[in-house]
C-alpha cells in the first residue's frame, strides 16, 4: 500500500504522473504558493491604499480586474489574499495533522486505557457539527485570523486522529515492528521511526483533501465577519464586502469566489490523485 522500496516509490510516482487531473491540481497549488510568496514584492499598488475617486471601476489596463468599493486594485488584493488564505489553511491543517496524528498514533499503539481516553476526547469534538464547533470556538475566543486557524484546526483533529489510529492498528503487528522491539528499540522510537513512515500515505491523502475543506470553512468564517478583519485582504471577507455592490459591480463578487473555487478544486484533485496512485485498488 505504501512506498517501501525505491521501485515501489517509482511505481507510485508513475501512477501519479499519469493521473492528469492530479498533476493539474499540483501545478495550480505550486502556482498559488509562488503567487503568495512573490505577491508583496511584485505588486504595483499598495493593497491598502484607498482611492475613492476610482471606486468600482471595471477591468482596465491599469487595473486588470477592476477596483473595489474603496478604489483599491482587486487583482492585488486577490494576490495578497492568497497569502492570508494559504497561511490560515496551512496553519489549521498543520495543527490538526500534528495533534490528530500524534493522538491517533499513541491511541493505536498503546491501546487499552490510553486508547479509550484519547478516543473519547475525540468523540467530544465530534459531538457537534464541525462548522458550528468552529463558530462556538470563535464565539469564545473572539474574531480574528489566529482564532480562525485554531477553530478550523481543532474541528479537523478527529479526522486525523481516527485515521492515524486505524492505520497504526493495521501496521503495529507487522514483522518489522516486532523486529524493532526485539532489538530493543524504545516505544517512542518504534512509533516515530517505524510506524509513522508507514502510516504517512493515507495521512498525506487526507491532508490534501482536508486543505480543501479548510479553505471553504475558513473563507466561510471570514465571509460571516468572524475571520481576518478589514482592511486585511482575505477572499471570504472581500466577497462579503463586495456583495453590497453586486448589482453595480458583479465581478467584485465573482473573482474572490472563483479564486476559492480554484484552490479548493486543486486540493481535491491532488488528494484524489494521491489516493489513486498510492492505492490503485481503490481506483474506479
Amino acid at each position: 500500500m505504501e512506498p517501501r522500496s525505491p521501485s515501489q516509490f517509482r511505481a507510485v510516482l508513475r501512477r501519479f504522473v499519469r493521473h492528469r487531473a492530479a498533476v493539474v491540481g499540483l501545478i495550480l497549488i505550486i502556482g498559488l504558493v509562488l503567487t503568495a510568496a512573490i505577491a508583496p514584492v511584485s505588486i504595483a499598488y499598495d493593497p491598502y491604499a484607498i482611492a475613492l475617486g476610482q471606486s468600482l471601476q471595471g477591468p482596465s489596463l491599469a487595473h486588470p480586474l477592476g477596483t473595489d468599493e474603496l478604489g483599491r486594485d482587486v487583482l492585488i488584493r486577490l494576490l495578497m489574499g492568497a497569502r492570508t488564505t494559504l497561511m490560515i489553511t496551512v496553519g489549521a491543517v498543520g495543527l490538526a495533522l500534528g495533534v490528530g496524528a500524534s493522538l491517533g498514533l499513541a491511541a493505536g499503539f498503546h491501546g487499552g486505557g490510553v486508547d479509550s481516553l484519547i478516543m473519547r476526547g475525540v468523540d467530544v469534538l465530534m459531538s457537534m457539527p464541525g462548522f458550528l464547533l468552529a463558530i462556538g470556538i470563535i464565539a469564545a475566543l473572539g474574531v480574528g485570523t489566529t482564532n480562525v486557524i485554531l477553530a478550523v484546526g481543532i474541528y479537523s483533529i478527529p479526522t486525523f486522529a481516527r485515521l492515524a489510529r486505524g492505520s497504526t492498528l493495521s501496521v503495529k503487528s507487522e514483522e518489522y515492528v516486532t523486529a524493532a522491539r526485539a532489538v530493543g528499540v524504545s516505544n517512542g522510537g518504534i512509533m516515530i521511526r517505524h510506524i509513522l513512515p508507514n502510516i504517512m500515505p493515507p495521512l498525506m491523502v487526507q491532508t490534501s483533501l482536508r486543505m480543501a475543506t479548510a479553505i471553504l470553512s475558513a473563507s466561510g468564517l471570514s465571509f460571516l465577519g468572524l475571520g481576518p478583519q478589514p482592511p486585511e485582504p482575505e477572499w471570504g471577507a472581500m466577497l462579503a464586502a463586495g456583495r453590497n455592490y453586486m448589482t453595480r459591480a458583479p465581478l467584485l463578487v465573482a473573482f474572490p469566489g472563483l479564486a476559492i473555487l480554484m484552490v479548493t478544486l486543486s486540493f481535491n484533485l491532488l488528494g484524489d490523485g494521491l489516493r489513486d496512485s498510492l492505492d490503485p485498488k481503490l481506483k474506479r
Binding site: S127, P129, G130, L132, I135, G236, L239, L261, T264
Partner: protein
C-alpha cells in the same frame, strides 16, 4: 429492533451532556467577567451582582454548570442581552425557518444526488458519467456563500424569477435550498456511485439478471437497496454540515433563522443567545443521528439482530 432503538436513545444522553459542557464552556473560556458579559454593556453594578447571584457565578464551576443545566432542563436558557426576551422564545420562533431550509436542502440533495449516482454507476465511463462526476467535483469545491450570491445574481437580479431573500412562500426557499444542498448533493452522488459500483459486481446481481428480472428492478431493488447503507451514513453526516451551512446561507439570503441569530449574537456578544442557539442546533444534529441509526437497523437486518 426496539432494544436497538432504546440503546441508541440512552446513548444520546451522554452525548447531549458533552454538548452542553462545550456550550457552557464558551462563556467561561471567553476573556472577561461572565456576570458582566451576561449583563451586557449598559448593565449597572447591582444588575451584575444580581446575575452573579442568580447563576451562582461566584461558586465553583461544577456548581455553575449544575445551575445552568438545571435551568436549561426547565426550559430557562436565560434572557437575551440585546432584546431582553427569554432566549428560548427567541430560538424557538426562529427554529422552523432553519429546519425548513435544512430539510428542503437535504431532500433536494438526496433525491438529486442519489439519482445522479445511480445513473453514473449504471453507465460507468460514459460521457454522462464523466460529466456528472466533474459537476460533482465542482459541487464539493464551490464555496456555499459564493454559489448563493451567483444564484441571486442570475435568478433574482437578472431573471427576477425568485426573491433575493427573506422568508415566506416556497419561492423564498428555492434558491437557499439549492445553495445549501449543492455540496451535499455532490457528496451523495459520489458516494452513491461508488457504493453502487461495488454492489452491481456482486453475484446476486448476476443471479437477478440471470433469472430474467427487468433491469429497473435489478438496479433499484437488488442494487440500490443494498448500496444504501454507506449512503445513509453520509446523509446523516451531511445533516450536520447543513446545519453549519445554514448559518452562511441564512446570511446570504437574509433569512431570519437560527444561523443568522447565532452570528448576530456573536457580534453583539449576546452570550445567552449564542449558547441557546448552539444547544438547539447541536441537539437537532444528535437527534438526526439517532434517526439515521434507527434507519440502519431497518435497512440492514444484521444490525437489528446483533
Amino acid at each position: 429492533m426496539t432494544r436497538h432503538i432504546i440503546r441508541r436513545l440512552l446513548y444520546t444522553i451522554p452525548v447531549m451532556l458533552v454538548v452542553s459542557l462545550l456550550v457552557f464552556g464558551i462563556l467561561h473560556v471567553a476573556p472577561g467577567d461572565p456576570a458582566a458579559m451576561l449583563g451586557g454593556e449598559d448593565a449597572r453594578p447591582e444588575d451584575v451582582a444580581a446575575i452573579r447571584a442568580k447563576y451562582g457565578l461566584d461558586q465553583p464551576l461544577y456548581i455553575q454548570y449544575g445551575i445552568w443545566i438545571g435551568n436549561a432542563l426547565r426550559s430557562d436558557l436565560g434572557r437575551s442581552i440585546v432584546t431582553r426576551r427569554p432566549v428560548l422564545q427567541e430560538v424557538v420562533t426562529r427554529f422552523p425557518y432553519t429546519l425548513e431550509l435544512a430539510v428542503a436542502a437535504l431532500v433536494a440533495a438526496v433525491v438529486a444526488g442519489m439519482s445522479v449516482g445511480v445513473i453514473s454507476a449504471t453507465r460507468q465511463y460514459s460521457a454522462i458519467d464523466h460529466g456528472t462526476m466533474v459537476l460533482a467535483l465542482l459541487g464539493v469545491s464551490t464555496p456555499v456563500f459564493w454559489l448563493g450570491l451567483m444564484l441571486i445574481f442570475a435568478f433574482s437580479v437578472e431573471l427576477r424569477w425568485f426573491p433575493t431573500g427573506g422568508v415566506g412562500s416556497w419561492r423564498h426557499l428555492v434558491l437557499p435550498a439549492l445553495t445549501l444542498g449543492a455540496h451535499s448533493m455532490a457528496i451523495i452522488a459520489r458516494m452513491t456511485r461508488s457504493s453502487m459500483l461495488e454492489v452491481i459486481r456482486q453475484d446476486y446481481i448476476r443471479t437477478a439478471r440471470a433469472k430474467g428480472l427487468v433491469e429497473r428492478v435489478v438496479v433499484l431493488r437488488h442494487g440500490l437497496l443494498n448500496a444504501l447503507i454507506p449512503v445513509v451514513t453520509v446523509v446523516g453526516l451531511q445533516f450536520g454540515y447543513l446545519l453549519g451551512g445554514a448559518v452562511i446561507t441564512e446570511t446570504v439570503f437574509s433569512r431570519r433563522g437560527l444561523g443568522r441569530l447565532l452570528i448576530d449574537s456573536i457580534n453583539s456578544r449576546d452570550f445567552p443567545t449564542v449558547q441557546g442557539t448552539l444547544m438547539l442546533l447541536a441537539g437537532s444534529f444528535v437527534l438526526v443521528n439517532l434517526l439515521v441509526d434507527t434507519l440502519y437497523a431497518y435497512l440492514d437486518p444484521r444490525i437489528r439482530y446483533e
